[in-house]
């Protein structure tokens, strides 16, 4: 199913420059009177690397949670490939080709690295209940393929040493990449990365940068929230700056760097 999505994606590619992959209009969410996200609108085009930055508490993670269906918006609309998706639960959005990672890791520590990534293949597997109960051969074949694909993805993100390791026994940096592998396993058309470089040293960050480039090169739209300005400025096509839940600025890295409001917010804040 996801393959189909990707095919139509590429065939539409020429005209798609006009229709955004993800569009947010007038989005708002308040917690106990505090506006975490306030009347926010922006569009993300297919194939872009789009970064969301802003000081702590600017509402970046809230925005991600709204887009990926973990929070319900108070107002506004979100559309994915032209389809209204606000309020849909995450499992429905995953079917539509959306995937994400988390600022504080959401890895299943009760499973191995491989199983975590195989979990990412969930939607693409045979999940027939009787077949599972009775261990039918078709199911075993499907599992074997899934396993091979997951192993490949683990190597792709550079965790080849940890294929059979318990997630709980893996170092932090590897877990960060494992989470990306799991997200990729869903074959997303849009991937949201929440602070992928947080807690990584400079070598690891450099490797991450390469990874994100590889992902984007594969035709996947990447949206990231990140504090590491060097990383943001070097890989992003466009940048959105949030402040108190509102859009402060949007533009290419160069435009953002020169924007006086942004400088004031960052230096004055």
């Amino acid at each position: 199913m996801n393959q189909n999505v990707q095919q139509t994606e590429t065939s539409r590619d020429d005209t798609a420059r006009l229709t955004p992959l993800l569009e947010v209009r007038g989005l708002g969410k308040a917690f106990g009177g505090v506006h975490a996200v306030d009347d926010l609108s922006f569009r993300i085009l297919p194939g872009e690397v789009y970064a969301v930055i802003g000081p702590n508490g600017a509402g970046k993670t809230t925005l991600f949670n709204l887009i990926t269906g973990l929070y319900q918006p108070d107002q506004g609309e979100i559309s994915l490939k032209g389809e209204a998706v606000q309020g849909l639960p995450p499992e429905r959005l995953a079917r539509l080709g959306m995937s994400r990672t988390f600022q504080n890791l959401q890895i299943c520590m009760n499973m191995t690295a491989l199983e975590n990534v195989m979990l990412g293949r969930h939607l693409h597997l045979k999940r027939n209940f009787l077949a599972a109960l009775l261990r039918w051969p078709s199911l075993r074949a499907s599992e074997r393929t899934c396993r091979a694909q997951a192993e490949e993805l683990i190597r792709f993100v550079g965790c080849g040493d940890y294929v059979d390791a318990d997630a709980a026994a893996m170092p932090y940096g590897a877990l960060k990449r494992l989470e990306i592998a799991r997200a990729l396993a869903t074959q997303p058309s849009i991937l949201l990365l929440d602070e992928p470089a947080a807690g990584l040293n400079s070598t690891e960050t450099a490797a991450l940068e390469q990874l994100i480039r590889k992902v984007a090169a594969g035709g996947i739209t990447v949206v990231l929230v990140e504090h590491d300005m060097k990383l943001v400025m070097s890989i992003s096509d466009r940048v959105l700056v949030l402040d108190y839940g509102r859009k402060l600025a949007e533009g290419t890295p160069r435009e953002i760097r020169d924007n006086p409001d942004v400088i004031a917010a960052y230096l004055g804040g």
Binding site: F31, T61, N65, L70, F102, N104, Q106
Partner: protein, 291 residues
């Protein structure tokens, strides 16, 4: 007809006030640790049974009550220190099983100390009952209501007016943040267990003259208290009190007007109805999910 209704109401409110106290105990511990403390009912038994045996030794009633409550408080602290704190990193389900083990242990101990027989406790007042508009009310019921009311009031003051109370509330909302602010969460947890034990013991002592008491009385009363807490919305103090009273009255009304066979089922039917239609209970807090 009205006298009949009033009679059921008295009966329901008395037992309902007891449920409310037990439910408050559940709520306290649940808020502080998310553990459903299945040993809660045993504190009722310990309160009632030790008061009875102290009275039999000739200790005057107020002193006997104070001593019984103190014993329960000590046991509450011990339950936390010896059983819950050492396993604090375990799964919540494991902690629940520990409280079940503790409850069986305490019951077994009580059975050895006090035997298996039921015991009666004299009423606190000399006159046993009064007539109100054609219905009869135990004077002990008034005691139960008064003491429950005072305890609820004290608890409310404790949580809103004292630093310690606020610390407990803070811990229940966000243990991590509370720890950062210098609140010792383990201490708070211990306090919650102690208060829950005191509430349970008081409830057990107050109703003993009406209901009799024995080593295994805690099972059913504890369970009903848990139901009351769930009806009120696990974690809400007001909910626990309302849930308890509601449950007591619903049971009495069912026994009176519908079928005494299914009186006990009412409590559990209420749980299902509330979960189906008001999943957070009557007063359950809406908690935003943290990611």
């Amino acid at each position: 007809m009205f006298a009949e209704f009033l009679q059921y109401l008295f009966s329901g409110v008395t037992i309902g006030a007891t449920y409310a106290l037990v439910a408050l105990g559940f709520t306290l511990v649940y808020n502080a640790s998310h553990v459903i403390n299945f040993a809660q009912g045993e504190f009722l038994m310990i309160g009632g049974m030790s008061t009875v045996s102290l009275l039999a030794m000739g200790v005057p009633l107020p002193l006997a009550i104070a001593m019984a409550v103190a014993l329960a408080a000590v046991l509450g602290v011990a339950l936390h220190k010896l059983a819950i704190a050492p396993a604090r990193k375990a799964d919540v389900i494991t902690l629940i099983i520990i409280t079940i083990g503790a409850s069986i242990f305490l019951r077994g101990l009580a059975q050895i100390i006090w035997g298996k027989e039921f015991h009666a406790m004299p009423s606190f007042s000399a006159t046993e009952s009064v007539n109100v508009l054609g219905a009869v009310m135990y004077t002990q019921s008034l005691w139960v209501l008064a003491v429950a009311g005072v305890l609820v009031l004290l608890l409310a003051l404790f949580f809103t007016r004292t630093l310690m109370g606020k610390a407990i509330l803070a811990t229940s909302m966000n243990p991590g943040a509370a720890r950062l602010m210098g609140i010792r969460t383990q201490f708070v947890l211990m306090l919650a267990f102690m208060l829950a034990a005191v509430l349970g013991a008081m409830a057990g002592i107050m109703v003993a003259p009406v209901t009799l008491t024995a080593y295994d009385i805690g099972i059913m009363l504890g369970l009903k208290g848990f139901v009351a807490a769930a009806i009120g919305g696990m974690g809400s103090g007001v909910g626990a009190v309302v849930g308890g009273l509601l449950l007591g009255i619903a049971e009495a009304m069912t026994a009176g007007y519908i079928s005494s066979d299914y009186k006990d089922a009412v409590a559990f039917l209420l749980i299902l109805v509330i979960l189906f239609f008001m999943p957070r209970g009557l007063f359950g807090a809406r908690v935003a999910e943290r990611v």
